[in-house]
């Protein structure tokens, strides 16, 4: 027993230094021992660029009125891909929010469906059965309980699968965050909570989101470790995620990873971030661009050159052109409104379906 009543069993402490293997200059930090091979890093680098180019195309399409409101992953490619790489596509599960494109690409997300979804075509929601990615989640943090249930349910059935779920610094304030992490702790669910701290929730800065010096400090309050990593360092994010996945597979339960990254631009296509973001800060952050960092690393290994870069750009253009064309080819299929509400439509729904499909207008009367 402690007798001093001034004892704070859990004082507020300064934020820890994030784990980093690769510096913004593309050099390994002293003592760093990355386990990703250079070939793997090359593959990752390609995906990061693909992701960024899809982002750019989507942004342009939105400006042309050909795509709806969407949130780019720009700046967070290392954060989402480094973690996604630690899981096995088709075996392990990705439970996304909406800003994890790079990880989804690694886990076989069809690009045309991605475009279709953000264009507002419901066809984009119909993903292949082999894809172990849950639907994009618009309600912040609402996917966290799903991730826990999924991980727990697969574990109950004896499967050796890991679930990773992504969410932002803003979403971490929702009650769902708390309830989900607490249940994960109790059930020792094999799940990784990848908190992408990108500094902003739309216009709300990190400092107003929580007085916690680190979000990862919340882990022990649920009986799980909290890890802080440089989210713009692909190698570091991979290493900590790999370890979290291993712990999950070993029956040691969940891990909370706070990935320190930065949103390099507006929240989404509807956002005017000039209203609240400091231009100098943004410029400074651009220097920590996770894609550049990997390029510098590959340069130092003579594993990539400008010709490769050009070839890649051309390849990506083709891929994206095709995906966009496929996505834009979708026609409205109004039956999609009705056919997946239940396995069998109710009488009422069947009547409403007839009305909508018969008349070329919106809504119904009764």
């Amino acid at each position: 027993m402690t007798v001093d009543p001034d004892t704070l069993a859990y004082p507020v402490e300064p934020a820890p230094e994030p784990i980093r293997l690769l510096g913004p200059d593309g050099r390994l930090v002293d003592g760093a021992e990355p386990t990703l091979t250079v070939e793997q890093v090359v593959a990752a680098y390609k995906l990061m660029w693909l992701s960024r180019r899809i982002d750019e195309r989507a942004f342009n399409l939105q400006r042309q009125g050909r795509l709806g409101t969407f949130s780019p992953t720009r700046g967070q490619e290392a954060s989402v891909l480094g973690s996604g790489l630690a899981l096995r596509p088709g075996t392990d599960w990705l439970v996304p929010q909406y800003r994890e494109l790079t990880a989804m690409l690694y886990h076989d997300q069809p690009i045309d469906l991605w475009f279709a979804y953000w264009m507002g075509h419901m066809q984009g929601s119909a993903t292949p059965d082999t894809l172990r990615i849950l639907p994009t989640q618009i309600a912040l943090a609402a996917q966290l309980p799903h991730a826990v249930g999924l991980a727990w349910g697969r574990k109950i059935q004896g499967f050796d699968e890991v679930v990773i779920t992504y969410f932002g610094d803003g979403a971490s304030s929702e009650g769902d965050f708390h309830e989900a992490l607490n249940l994960a702790g109790v059930t020792k669910a094999p799940v990784i909570f990848l908190l992408q701290n990108n500094g902003w929730a739309i216009s709300t800065p990190r400092s107003k989101q929580s007085a916690a010096t680190s979000f990862a400090a919340r882990g022990p309050g649920y009986g799980m470790p909290g890890v802080v990593v440089d989210g713009n360092d692909l190698l570091a994010v991979y290493e900590v995620s790999k370890r979290a996945a291993q712990r999950a597979r070993d029956g040691l339960g969940p891990t909370l990873i706070e990935s320190m990254t930065y949103r390099l631009g507006p929240h989404n296509t509807a956002d005017d971030s000039v209203r609240y973001m400091d231009a100098d800060e943004l410029e400074r952050r651009e220097l920590e661009d996770p894609v550049t960092r990997v390029r510098l690393y590959l340069d130092s290994h003579d594993a990539w050159n400008d010709d490769d870069e050009e070839a890649l750009a051309a390849e990506h253009k083709t891929i994206i052109d095709e995906a966009v064309a496929a996505a834009e080819a979708h026609q409205p299929e109004p039956e999609r409104l009705f056919d997946h509400v239940f396995a069998e439509p109710t009488h009422r729904l069947a009547d409403q379906r007839t009305q909508v499909l018969t008349n070329a207008r919106g809504g119904i009367h009764a």
Partner: protein
């Protein structure tokens, strides 16, 4: 056939479902060693193990939300919300996740989830334990809402709900748990979701209710009979989907209808029934449809609940109004 009360019938259905299918599991507050605060899951944890009957942490949101993930994982989760009032803590998960997941994934992820919850008043419970909130859930596309009024239907509809590939909110009339007793077949059987039950036919007026409202309607029909009024009774039984045809058929025969809801009047499920009925049986109606319900006030402390929730006299009074209007 054995007589059984409603909570035993529910217990029976849960046991049958868990025996028949390994993926069926129960999660909720106090469902394990305690067997649920009303004993609906009594002994099930001892029988089926701690993996299949789980005392969840005290958080309704994640009870409903984890059920989504469990269902995707291949389980058949039966979540218990201890009292329906606390389903408000999970409303975002129920209305926007549980109910919409099949549609969101365009058919890829169907969720065979049952959310069981006792509801309704009359047992002098503390605040927030007694509200009849069914309408708030019927107005959630993608969710089925089932409300048995007999032990027989409780068992058959619960087994149907568990077998249903889509999410069902299964609402149990708290005050009927031990009071309502009727004949319940021992074996497994299902009652079709989407079919109302004609409790009795009448020639003068039709009383329409669900859950505890049926208890009132039946008693009111007895009282009206003494006054020479022949009142039929329809138990809607499943609110979503609604079997309007049965209701229209009955009301077309009598020309008059009283709808009994326990909830606060405004925007209750009675309004939906009345509107649909008025639209479909307009020319058979001899008088305005009367609704019986609670006032538009928060559910009071126990000392006033008898004045708040409708009783048999209110149904009789409502029926007389409907009979008098020409």
């Amino acid at each position: 056939m054995p007589e059984m009360n409603m909570v035993d019938a529910i217990h029976d259905a849960l046991t049958i479902a868990m025996e028949a299918d390994d993926t069926v599991m129960i999660l909720g507050e106090d469902v394990g060693a305690n067997g649920g605060v009303f004993r609906a899951t009594d002994g099930l944890q001892a029988k089926f193990g701690e993996d299949r009957v789980v005392d969840a942490p005290l958080a309704e949101g994640v009870i409903a939300g984890a059920a989504v993930g469990l269902a995707i994982a291949g389980m058949t989760p039966i979540a218990e919300i201890q009292f329906l009032g606390f389903a408000h803590q999970a409303y975002h998960q129920i209305a926007d996740q549980v109910a919409r997941y099949r549609s969101r994934s365009q058919g890829r992820f169907n969720l065979p989830i049952v959310i069981r919850s006792p509801f309704g008043g009359g047992v002098r419970a503390p605040e927030l334990h007694s509200d009849a909130l069914e309408a708030q859930f019927v107005h959630c596309p993608g969710l089925k809402v089932v409300c048995p009024a007999t032990a027989h239907d409780a068992k058959g509809l619960l087994l149907a709900s568990i077998a249903d590939p889509d999410p069902v909110l299964f609402l149990e009339p708290l005050r009927g748990y031990r009071l309502v007793t009727d004949e319940v077949p021992e074996d497994a059987y299902t009652v079709e979701i989407g079919k109302a039950r004609v409790v009795r036919t009448g020639t003068d007026i039709t009383l329409i209710g669900w859950s505890a409202g049926v208890f009132l309607a039946e008693k009111a029909a007895d009282v009206l009979a003494k006054d020479g009024i022949s009142a039929g009774v329809v138990d809607i039984r499943t609110l979503a989907p609604l079997d309007i045809d049965t209701i229209v058929a009955e009301v077309s025969a009598t020309g008059r209808a009283v709808i009994v809801q326990e909830a606060a009047m405004t925007c209750g499920f009675g309004a939906e029934v009345a509107t649909t009925l008025a639209a479909e049986a307009f020319f058979s109606l001899e008088s305005p449809i009367t609704r019986v319900g609670a006032p538009d006030a928060p559910y009071p402390l126990p000392g006033l609940e008898k004045m708040y929730i409708p009783d048999v006299a209110a149904v009789v009074a409502g029926a007389k109004v409907a009979m008098e209007a020409v």
